[in-house]
């Protein structure tokens, strides 16, 4: 079953630590969103393989936006 990684807050993606096709474990750091000068890590919600990444480093994202999909 696919699970989305969503943005917990609005901000700028400053790093991506996942790759399409690669395995991730629950609580691995998937990416980091910078907002108000603070770095907010976003973690994988489950074990699985990264199916799709919908953002790139430098993108501005909105709260609740889907950032990646894990299967």
């Amino acid at each position: 079953m696919a699970q989305n990684i969503t943005a917990p807050l609005s901000g700028k993606v400053i790093s991506l630590d996942i790759k399409v096709g690669k395995k991730v474990e629950e609580d691995d750091e998937a990416l980091v969103i910078e907002a108000l000068k603070m770095e907010n890590p976003v973690y994988a919600p489950c074990n699985g393989t990264v199916k799709e990444i919908k953002v790139a480093v430098g993108d501005l994202v909105e709260e609740d936006q889907v950032l990646a999909v894990i299967e």
Binding site: P8, L9, M38
Partner: protein
């Protein structure tokens, strides 16, 4: 009140595999930073003569005296790196901290007799002021190990005179005595002039047989009556007098035990003096801890090692403050005050070594949609908003009413700014918090976990809460500054940049100045700088933090000047609703 306190709500969670894995680098970097700071502390301990040299004169070093005097495992050092005037000796020449003697907490301070026979040095008066304040705030005795050769004459202008100069100590001693707080002094070696007053100003004097205390020592007595210069005959005269006073200095035991009786006791052995202090400490007023404990002491349910995983050394990284706190308090239990309101701040009651303590700390990370309620921008923990300021005001006030000491944990970027924040009364609410703190009259401890910034560093029980802040601790991640260095560089140079641009001049020199300022801010806010200048009273390892909290709680509840019966406390009822 057993149903309230014996078992509170559990908080914190066991770290998961992923959390442990991604924290590995942080653990290593944090411990490396702590090791570097510990090495600095070790250097200070080693300054001056070696222990062998001091021992060969039949004396113990200040460290050996402390080891004999203080109950094993209870020494809580303070001001280890404090050296605000950057003395070439590398120390202010006093060693101090909290410790138990004969099972009772005391503030303990001694002259480092390895350095210039325990001379007064620049910065020392400020150090002593801090510890006399501490004794007053905690209402516990002050114990001195006096061994003081007096003023370092070549630098006297830096500390002999002035409002907070070295003589302030003697008035402070008088003030403590006025308040009913005893000062016990073990006296060793030669203590002329300033050293004489260091010796005479305490409450009870325990003398070693070879000590002397005097208005003026051998040096000054041989050089009195200036003649307008020196010649060979004058030099011969000085030599004769110096020899005489070395053999027979003013103010020996013969005078001050046999004649004046200033010395209450005289001891043959160095340890005898310390035994005397120990026996008097047995008679110091101290409640049995059961009088105030609300539960049996218990360690946190989670390892203190987790703290290295939970607190990121990287300042921009967010983390969960509640998890940090759960590693510091008894049984990882708490009673949170107004959860959900003012989400940027944690407020709650916890137990430390079985004693009730109020805790306040900055939470980190995104605070969710719709907050702050007065603006449509995102809010981030570390900053203070209207609700958080109101909540702290309420909590502090209730702690004061219930006589509960407070531990603050700062990691703050400041108070929200802009016209919306002004309309939301943040300026007024910040000052209200200062007023609320002032009204409590309960001892407070501050831990600057990471950032102490802007006015938030003041209002959140900062060292500026002079009458309340007992002491301030830093960690290897601490940074204290009015604002981030780059923010300061912009504030300082933005208009200059515009001017240079409009005049068609190159911007590079301004840019260079901006980078220089940002670099200076970085250096002058780091833990070592904070400890040297006294912005914090000690840098503590993450695993050492709980020991300081327990010492604080134990000392606060040893002999409080005011008490609230547990069953008449209001704050727990407000929390329960």
């Amino acid at each position: 009140m057993r149903p309230y306190f014996e078992k509170m709500a559990a908080f914190g969670h066991e770290l998961k595999k992923g959390e442990l894995k991604r924290a590995e680098d942080n653990v290593r970097q944090f411990k490396d930073a702590e090791t570097a700071l510990e090495q600095e502390g070790e250097k200070v301990k080693q300054v001056g003569l070696s222990a062998e040299q001091v021992n060969s004169r039949g004396q113990l070093t200040v460290w050996q005296r402390l080891e004999y005097l203080v109950d094993p495992g209870t020494w809580i050092p303070l001001h280890t790196l404090f050296n605000p005037e950057d003395n070439e000796e590398g120390t202010t020449n006093v060693v101090d901290g909290l410790g138990k003697i004969s099972g009772r907490w005391a503030v303990i301070i001694g002259f480092d007799n390895k350095v210039m026979a325990g001379a007064w040095l620049p910065g020392q008066a400020d150090n002593v002021l801090r510890i006399t304040n501490l004794s007053k705030r905690l209402n516990i005795p002050l114990v001195w190990l006096v061994n003081c050769s007096g003023v370092k004459l070549t630098e006297q202008e830096k500390f002999y005179p002035n409002r907070r100069g070295s003589g302030a100590t003697f008035y402070r001693h008088a003030e403590l005595e006025q308040l009913g707080i005893p000062i016990l002094a073990g006296i060793y070696g030669t203590n002329p002039a300033g050293g004489g007053y260091q010796s005479i100003s305490p409450t009870i004097l325990f003398a070693h047989k070879d000590c002397n205390i005097a208005v003026g020592g051998a040096g000054i007595v041989s050089g009195m009556a200036p003649k307008g210069g020196f010649d060979a005959a004058a030099a011969e005269d000085i030599i004769d007098k110096a020899k005489h006073f070395k053999a027979e200095p003013p103010g020996t035991v013969k005078i001050h035990y046999d004649e004046t009786g200033f010395f209450r006791y005289v001891y043959e052995e160095e340890q005898g003096v310390l035994d005397g202090l120990k026996s008097f400490m047995e008679g110091i007023p101290a409640y049995h801890p059961k009088f105030f404990r609300v539960a049996e002491p218990a360690p946190p349910r989670f390892s203190a090692e987790d703290l290295y995983r939970l607190l990121p050394l990287e300042q921009k990284r967010v983390y969960d403050f509640d998890e940090v706190l759960s590693r510091l308090v008894d049984n990882s239990e708490h009673m949170e005050f107004r959860p959900g309101y003012g989400p940027e701040v944690y407020t709650g009651l916890v137990k430390i070594d079985g004693f009730l303590v109020g805790c306040i700390g900055n939470r980190q990370g995104y605070l969710g949609k719709g907050y702050p309620e007065y603006a449509d921008y995102q809010a981030m923990g570390g900053k203070l908003y209207r609700q958080g300021l109101i909540k702290m005001n309420e909590f502090v006030t209730l702690c004061g009413r219930d006589r509960v000491p407070i531990v603050w944990f700062q990691d703050t970027t400041g108070i929200d700014v802009g016209d919306l924040a002004e309309k939301a009364e943040l300026l007024g609410l910040g000052q209200s918090l200062i007023y609320s703190i002032q009204q409590t009259d309960v001892p407070m401890l501050l831990v600057v976990l990471r950032k102490g910034t802007a006015a938030a560093h003041y209002v959140m029980g900062g060292p500026t809460a002079n009458r309340h802040n007992a002491f301030t601790l830093g960690t290897a991640a601490t940074e204290i500054y009015v604002m981030h260095g780059e923010t300061a560089a912009v504030a300082t140079y933005s208009r200059r940049l515009v001017k240079e641009k409009e005049a068609g001049r190159p911007l590079e020199p301004v840019i260079e100045s901006m980078n220089k300022l940002a670099d200076e801010y970085r250096e002058n806010s780091r833990p070592l700088f904070c400890a040297r200048t006294g912005m914090v009273d000690e840098i503590v390892s993450m695993t050492g933090l709980r020991g300081y909290l327990a010492a604080f709680a134990g000392a606060v509840y040893q002999n409080p000047t005011s008490i609230c019966p547990q069953h008449q406390m209001f704050l727990p009822r407000v929390i329960k609703g």
